[in-house]
Symmetry: C2
Subunit: 338 residues, 2 copies
DNA sequence: CTGAAAGCGCTAACAT
DNA sequence: ATGTTAGCGCTTTCAG
């Protein structure tokens, strides 16, 4: 870096302290000098050195963004959208974001991201479910953490979450409004807080509408959530001869798999079976029929997470606020009145 | 950051300079003191401050990674894999990587990534095609740049590129080996260096095998490269009544679209038409039939780019080396002997 | 309202 | 082989 605060000071006939105060918009500088200093800053094209600043303020100026490799490499850009939101928001704050992928099967023997070992982040955003071992190791550092779209069971944390419960309610209520009462629920990892809440929404609506909940309507797969597991789940429903006229899939990937299976069994969608998913992924509109779903504001979640960590770092207090992001129903062609 | 080099120095009864030398593995320290210093470093859990280091060495310790938003958010994790490779490789180098997305329609009025404006990166990796305006503005900063999977026409740059020519040759030769001679080529943006070279490979093989090149066998779409454009390209071929028994699609997305169109026209793959793509994306094995393709080492490309920029920064000379990444044929079920 | 000066944590001459 | 010391570029008391 070439030109420094000294150059500016000299040229503007003030001390470096004054220049510093001007840069930092301190108000106890006379309008006149401020103008003059600002002018020479512009003339010289002066850029304060982040490194020097960080050194004296004892901060790194970085926020770490951690997620598992498989989440990052997912075909559907879910977490990448969250990251994008965070990165965009960071531009409004004095932070850069350092992205680090960890293995999905992270064990406590594995290394932490280098930026935490080297104390190079002031705060951390963790997106999606990560192994418990990682979280435990992270505790030893006192770096504030904000979780996005996941949040560990133990402890109380700051987090930006999808309003999964309401999403589940919206989805199933839509089905009920369409006249369905035999509604299947297919999902993966029921331990996951998000899935759990969507399931809860399902049950809530049944209950509210006086529809009897039945175990045979729910298929829980312990495999990875994907199209294939959606396919298999519906296959199981069919094989069991379970009667249903609609299915609520815990996410769109499974919904798409479900559609496929139904079609393969000569069932028409939505005439014979209505299907609703969750997430509003890009592929929803590329399949036939386009999938009705619950939209979640991915980019906004990223920016909210960034805002939250920035606020925590600014106030220097760890708060445990939880932000519930609103979801909404997106009606497309995979659902209809019975 | 808590404990500093001074603490270590005091406890080990040496000067801070000595500690510094030990940290930096300088050899002119006696084995004995080195051991002692290292021991107290471990005991104290001392971590050198990057910020302080960077300040004195006048570097930021960061490498910027720039790509367009749409590349980052692509359904197929192509550039994310490149990024992943770069990030992993960075762990072996004294750099963090800062990721920044720019709009696909970036104009010279738009801002540069903040990290370049603020001089917070020592070097830059640019992945994929980016708008010329960006590149021109970047020139004003003297930050070394390494390009990955793209490289601007004007000027001579360091770059990590796919061996597209050889890939094209491999692909088309495979088709020829299968007995095909009426081979269509469908592609997008022929201005793109990668596409151009793949096309060149196509022509090279025809030539070498004494097959007459014919304009009617090539369909160039100016739309975005995607399944849909693949579909449309084949549709055009069919409408024109062009005879062909095989198609080389410039990438897998188009290949998949092509398959779809052919199927919709009651043609069997590979019995009636063989199809080969390029890239080896995840979806290749999820469609029916699985797509034969040219595999490109995405993760390796990222790490090579990181190695290259690291070397440039280390030697403090901008070199313009180009690294051509090897590709290979992956035979699956979309191609067969005539 | 502005300046002088100390110091953030580290490296790199230069001494010893 | 190791210690002394002068900064790197900035912020921040503390004086004036």
């Amino acid at each position: 870096m070439r030109i420094t605060i000294k150059d500016v000071a000299k040229k503007a006939n003030v001390s470096t302290a004054t220049v510093s105060l001007v840069i930092n918009k301190n108000r106890r500088i006379s309008r006149e000098t401020r103008r003059r200093v600002q002018k020479t800053i512009d003339e010289l094209g002066y850029q304060p050195s982040r490194t020097a600043r960080d050194l004296v303020s004892r901060k790194s100026g970085n926020v770490g963004f951690i997620l598992t490799e498989d989440h990052f490499l997912k075909t559907e850009p879910f977490y990448t959208q969250i990251f994008l939101g965070a990165e965009f928001e960071a531009r409004q704050h004095p932070y850069y974001v350092l992205l680090s992928m960890i293995p999905a099967d992270y064990s406590e023997h594995d290394m932490l991201p280098r930026f935490v070992l080297e104390n190079s982040v002031d705060g951390i955003i963790i997106a999606g479910k990560v192994p418990g071992g990682l979280i435990r190791k992270l505790r030893k550092y006192s770096t504030p953490i904000v979780y996005v779209d996941y949040y560990p069971d133990e402890g109380d944390h700051a987090a930006v979450l999808i309003d999964n419960l309401n999403g589940g309610i919206l989805a199933v209520q839509h089905l009920v409004d369409c006249g369905h009462s035999k509604i299947a629920f297919i999902c993966g990892d029921i331990e996951h807080p998000s899935i759990r809440d969507r399931f809860l929404g399902y049950k809530t609506v049944l209950d509210k509408n006086g529809i009897q909940f039945s175990d045979e309507h729910v298929v829980i797969t312990d495999k990875v959530i994907c199209q294939e597991s959606g396919y298999d789940s519906v296959k199981k429903l069919l094989k069991n001869n379970t009667k249903f006229t609609a299915v609520f899939a815990c996410n769109d990937a499974m919904a798409i798999g479900a559609v496929q299976c139904l079609k393969d069994n000569a069932l028409r969608i939505p005439e014979d079976v209505s299907i609703i998913g969750f997430d509003d992924i890009q592929m929803d509109v590329m399949v036939d029929p386009p999938i009705t779903t619950i939209q979640v504001p991915k980019v906004d979640m990223g920016s909210e997470a960034m805002k939250l960590i920035s606020e925590i770092l600014g106030r220097k207090v760890q708060n445990t606020r939880k932000i519930l992001m609103p979801v909404s129903l997106v009606e497309r062609q995979s659902t209809c009145k019975v």
